[in-house]
Amino acid sequence: MRSEVNLQTSSDSASSASSSAEERPYLVLIRYGELALKGKNRGFFERKLASNIRSACEGLSKVRVELRRGRIMVWPEQKPERVAKRLQDVMGIQSVSLARGVPLDPELIAEEGLRSVQEALEGCPADEIQSFRVATRRGNKNFQMTSSELDCYVADRVLPELEKRLKVQLKGADLVLGIEVREKNAFIFTKRLPGPGGLPVGTLGHVLCLLSGGIDSPVAAWMAMKRGCRVSYVTYHSSPYLGDASRKKVVDLVRILAQYQPTSQLFVVPFTKCQEAIRDFAPERYRTVLYRRMMQRIATRLARRNRCGALVTGESLGQVASQTLENITCIEDASGLPVIRPLIAMDKQESVNLAQRIGTYDTSIEPAPDCCTVFQPEKPIIYGRIEECLEAETTFDLDELLTEALRGTERIKVRLDD
């Protein structure tokens, strides 16, 4: 430690932690993929995306959202980096860039470009040479230079300053200085952070997802959201055979999924009576298939009451005994609505990878059993037949069980910032 420290006496030059240097404020530049392909109803998709962006930023920062041809600009009041990070989870967004806006003057563009490149280089080893290019997109055709002229103009000003750190490479460069020339400003950035793509949540209707607490069903819910569906959830609980920990696990999963859809509802259906009736009156081998038929019926009724147009499940063909083609046929027969199965052709490992990416995996593997494990048959039926199911279901009062389950259903509202 050095002991010769020249202590400044009090002066007004001491800045406080909340102030910052004179820098242009950051904005988040948003690109959307598939949305741009929409025709006459494109405005509807864009407005929905803008409104989802606002909801996603709630509790983080106030934001101003501007829709401009082919892009959305988000101006956060604070925490721009965290806003950008949060927006990476908003369905419909292809990629986001933290950018700075400058007036339409080549010199100012080059100056800001140099600063952005210097900032980006701070994180790279000093002795490593980075490959580099400038990539201009000129939305504003009235701008005085063409895209390639501006590329060269900016590169001519950046490269001499950073001769030892950069070498030009037009394809596959490590560091790409992006410039978007728009109507009033140019936007400068060096990073494109990927979003999930897809369509904005809420543009393709409302669905009800059957959530078990395992790995697959949360992934199925996420995939439905990615295709623009607003998702509500239903789970089945077998108290007192299962404890509150199983229920908590499902609530935790819905909360994780709230990153992608900030508000949602979860229906918790008491399922014990249904399971006891099936145990007592139906053939043992058919138990699991019959449980699932019951779940489909309850879900269909809940869905209709809540104006959901389809059910979503995490079924994958052949993954477990109840997911053979025959059993899926038996189960779907009890549903009154289309059943969407986003994972139907996916391997387990693919689901696991996705679950890890969306953040549900660690919670899904927590050791809390779901209701299907209660009175599980030794040898479950693999090739079930609808007639057998229908016959078994005549042995108990189906309507009474359904009514009672629906009467006892609890509705939990889950919000991202709970």
């Binding site: 430690m1 050095r2 002991s3 010769e4 420290v5 020249n6 202590l7 400044q8 006496t9 009090s10 002066s11 030059s13 001491a14 800045s15 406080s16 932690a17 909340s18 102030s19 509790g59 604070q78 925490k79 980096e81 965290r82 990070k85 701070e122 994180g123 790279c124 080893p125 000093a126 404890g243 509150d244 920990a245 229920r247 908590k248 935790d252 909360r255 953040g359 660690d362 910032d417 709970d418």
Partner: protein, 364 residues
Amino acid sequence: MEGWWRENYANPSSRHAAGVAASEALDKARRQIARATGAQPGRVIFTSGATEANNLAVFGHARARRGHGRHVLVGPLDHPSTRMPAMQLIEEGFEVEDLCLDSNGALDLEDAQARVRPDTVLVTQMFANNEFGCVFPIRELTKIVRRSAPHAAVHVDAVQALGKVELDVELLGVDSISISGHKINGPKGAGALIRANDDPMQALIHGGGQEGGLRGGTQDVPSICGLGLAVKLAEEEREDSTARMSELMRTLRAGVRERKIGRIIDLGAPKQEMLPNIISVIIEGPPAEVFLHHLDARGLAASAGSACQSSKKSMNPALFAIGLNEEEARRVLRLSIGKVTSLEEVQRSIQLLDEVRSELANIV
């Protein structure tokens, strides 16, 4: 907090309904803290305070990385709760060095660049200093470490920064930060280590596998709930309260200067930013402790850098680290502004400081 003492006193590890409810309360606090610090809820490890969190970080990171090297760097003004464990590591065969301040008192990044080595396994540096209020350039330091020490963990003691500076473990690029409830009007005896990744770490307290196996022992649910709420509020009110405190601090600084109370220590300014709530002043005249007792008698609570009778050995080493001599160190008085301090109280404090200064000038 109250309800978790009186009504639901269940163990959060229990599987019964009351236990699950208690574990839900812990999860809520975890989410509140995660949201305020840009972390994942599962990476918030509750501890008995920042001292334990800092001990866990220093021993936990260093011991888990022993296979990659034994070189450790410690912030020159760090709190004893990181410096002492680091010194302890020497006994275990680690080589421990200090980072340095430059001639102006700012963290010397060039020196840091020279000291970081491929076998460096831990760099610990506080975010904001508790005595002088200076804010250290953590992002820049982290970039330097990442460039030259691929296996090093960067730990940041963020106790003073919480609620005053934006904290985001990912954006800072660090491996962990420690926080404490009592600096943000929350409960004492509650703190947390917040990790940015799942890199290997060794536990300090072994037991029932709580806190992801990194901190055994049944969690103190009431205090943790209080900590979660305090962190949430501190972050929500951060912009407003720092703006308000900065305004009060300007008044206090102007008062100290105009009334010639003493010399304000602006460590590293203007290169380094300052917290809006703390200043240390080398007062003119008597030892700070005498000053402090006179202020106390008039109802103003301040802190002295070192007790006047204490030997140099037991005095705060940070004061010597910034280059003060023993006599100056005894005259360091620390003044802090709280969340609830009013302008009238600041003006009254300046008046009291002035009164005590003139009174003692005649006696001592």
